[in-house]
Amino acid sequence: MTLIKKQIPLLICFVVGFLTLSSYYVPHPVSEKYMEGINKWENIVFGFAFLLGLLSLFFSHYNKIRRRVPGWGYSIFVYIGFLMMVVPAFVSWGQQLDGASLTSLGWAYRFVFNALSGTMFSVLAFYIVSTAYRAFRIKSPQAAVLFIAALIMIIGKVPLGQMMWDGALGWTNVLVADIVEWLMSVPVVAGRRGIMMGLAVGAIVTALKIIFGIERQYMGKD
């Protein structure tokens, strides 16, 4: 049974991984045909992967309703939200536009999904401002450098800030926009590139572990 449960999946992983890796160095039509086939397959397999998230969301809220945990009533709205998208989709057969006018699906996107999804993340703007006032402290020389860079960015990106800079420091003949440009194209590149190197090797090592079956956490417990 371990053969079917463990060895064969690991073998599939190794074979697929090795062939896909080789395809980068092997330009032959055979390798291209292989890639074409597997790309189409991956495309379809992955088309089902989001169901994992969908089902686990449904299960967890179903359990909340069943067990009547505090606040279970809100869980019903998860299903309502789902139906608000899916029912119009089937009525309009996946079309958002009917000629030049909206279908019910287009309506649901524009007025429900757009409003919800857009607003959820814009809330953070408020927290940035309050955190900026109440928590951001210049405690060390490093933090001071961070702040100076941040302030230059905040001033230099908007016209009002640029005007303020010109008013206060115009005599230096240095445009704040030029400093922003230099900051973004010199020190930022150095800092970011330094982080990238570690991430790149880390990603390669993780990929090697997956191909050789050393890393198998994604397979779940035995």
């Binding site: 890796l21 980068y24 160095y25 092997v26 330009p27 032959h28 039509p29 055979v30 390798s31 291209e32 045909k33 967890s60 959820m120 993340f121 809330v123 953070l124 927290y127 940035i128 309050s130 955190t131 109440r134 928590a135 951001f136 402290r137 405690k139 490093q142 933090a143 961070l146 702040f147 941040a150 982080i195 190197m197 570690g198 991430l199 790149a200 090797v201 880390g202 390669i204 090592v205 993780t206 090697l208 572990k209 050393i214 890393e215 956490q217 994604y218």
Partner: protein, 410 residues
């Protein structure tokens, strides 16, 4: 080399005359060869010929192709006669040796004949045209086919091999002997934070973030939690670990329990040290915020995978005056942690801290390979810039080309 003195007077003449009118007679096209384009999937040919030089200024070269099975010449491409020098060809020196005074072009035949999976025999010829004058080469026959190795990607291939070998070496080495990892400065701050909490008699909050158990930052975070729990057990302080993910919570319960056992304090261990809050990002942040606000902990740890909630968590800790130690791999959240926390573990530093504490061979070896990678980069950058600068200073163009081509993609 011999051609140059022959050409010089000729060049001079054309320079004089071209202003008025180019010579009516075109030089002949010589040295024409056709071959399969190396390192591709087929469907392309590599044509090379002697550069016609400035005598052909203003002329156009046309390429014709024909299938010997059904002979009929089809025009495949045309370009300026002066263009297409071999040294401009986008292939590195180890897969391409350009000759001076030769031209080369890669031509796609699939546009005419479609892409065949099997080798394909084709005839090629060149024709140079300027006004009424023209010159033509003899047809050359060659076989176009797919190749089994793209030599231009050799630099990538060798590096891939080196990393693979390095990885397996470190894995086996880590298993046998363990590997050295330097002390991480941020871990010293843990002692200070716990000492302060003990003095003040206030609790410590530890959040592992919103990552799943499979994420590396979460794994590192549980190792650090183990260390924190050991210290907490030792000083008999209060620890609270609010959770976002039930699986992470189960793992953390084991970790904390183990730490208390190691410090021989199983009696002080309580099962509610780890507790579940919510698996919704903002609800989690709001509830933890509320708790921190009410209980005013002496120290807060935010270590693991954090997204937008970092802002909300770090703010409330800072306003209640707790010592805050944070660590995440999320670059977009690091600025917020850095400005509102007392100590921040940046990206890989977090992984290193986790590996340092856990002594797990797999984690250690990953870290080690990353260090090898970084060492390679440092050496390459230093050596590469010195060589390039030297090449530029002394005008050694070949040296510049060699160094630049080593670090390119093909």
């Amino acid at each position: 080399m011999k051609k140059i003195p022959l050409f010089l007077p000729f060049l001079f003449l054309t320079a004089l005359s071209s202003a008025a009118k180019p010579p009516a007679v075109l030089p002949p096209l010589t040295g024409f060869t056709a071959a399969d384009m190396p390192g591709d999937a087929g469907g392309a040919a590599l044509l090379r010929w002697d550069s016609p030089g400035s005598a052909a200024a203003g002329a156009v070269i046309e390429v014709y192709v024909s299938d010997p099975a059904k002979p009929a010449w089809v025009k495949l491409a045309d370009f300026k006669a002066e263009a297409k020098s071999e040294s401009d060809f986008n292939r590195p020196f180890w897969a391409w040796s350009p000759a001076a005074g030769r031209n080369a072009v890669r031509l796609d035949t699939s546009a005419v004949f479609g892409r065949l999976d099997k080798p394909q025999e084709l005839d090629f010829k060149l024709r140079m045209v300027r006004g009424a004058a023209s010159a033509e080469t003899e047809p050359v026959r060659t076989v176009i086919k797919g190749n089994w190795f793209n030599a231009a990607r050799l630099n990538n291939f060798l590096l891939m091999l080196a990393i693979t070998i390095g990885f397996f070496w470190t894995v086996s080495h880590a298993r046998r002997k363990g590997l050295f990892i330097r002390r991480i400065a941020g871990l010293d701050a843990i002692d200070e934070a716990i000492g302060r909490a003990t003095e003040m008699g206030r609790p410590i909050f530890y959040s592992t973030g919103i990552g799943q158990m499979s994420l590396v930052p979460t794994i590192a975070s549980t190792s650090i939690l183990g260390e924190v729990a050991r210290k907490v057990a030792q000083y008999d302080t209060q620890l609270k670990v609010p959770h976002f993910d039930p699986i992470v919570m189960t793992v953390c319960k084991e970790v904390v329990k183990q730490s208390y056992l190691e410090m021989e304090r199983p009696d002080s261990y309580r099962d509610d040290i780890n507790f579940f809050v919510s698996n919704d990002q903002f609800s989690y942040a709001a509830s933890v915020d509320g708790m921190i606000h009410r209980e005013k902990p002496a120290a807060c740890f935010f270590i693991g995978h954090f997204m937008a909630e970092s802002l909300l968590l770090a703010e409330v800790g800072a306003t209640t005056g707790a010592i805050q130690i944070a660590g995440t791999e999320q670059e977009s959240q690091l600025p917020f942690f850095f400005t509102s926390c007392d100590y921040t573990l940046i990206g890989e530093e977090l992984y290193a801290a986790g590996a340092y504490l856990s002594k797990e061979p797999m984690l250690l070896s990953t870290l080690k390979v990353q260090d090898f990678g970084k060492a390679f980069v440092m050496v390459s950058v230093v050596a590469g810039s010195i060589l390039l600068a030297a090449g530029a200073w002394f005008g050694w163009q070949p040296l510049i080309k060699v160094v630049e081509q080593l670090f390119k993609a093909y």
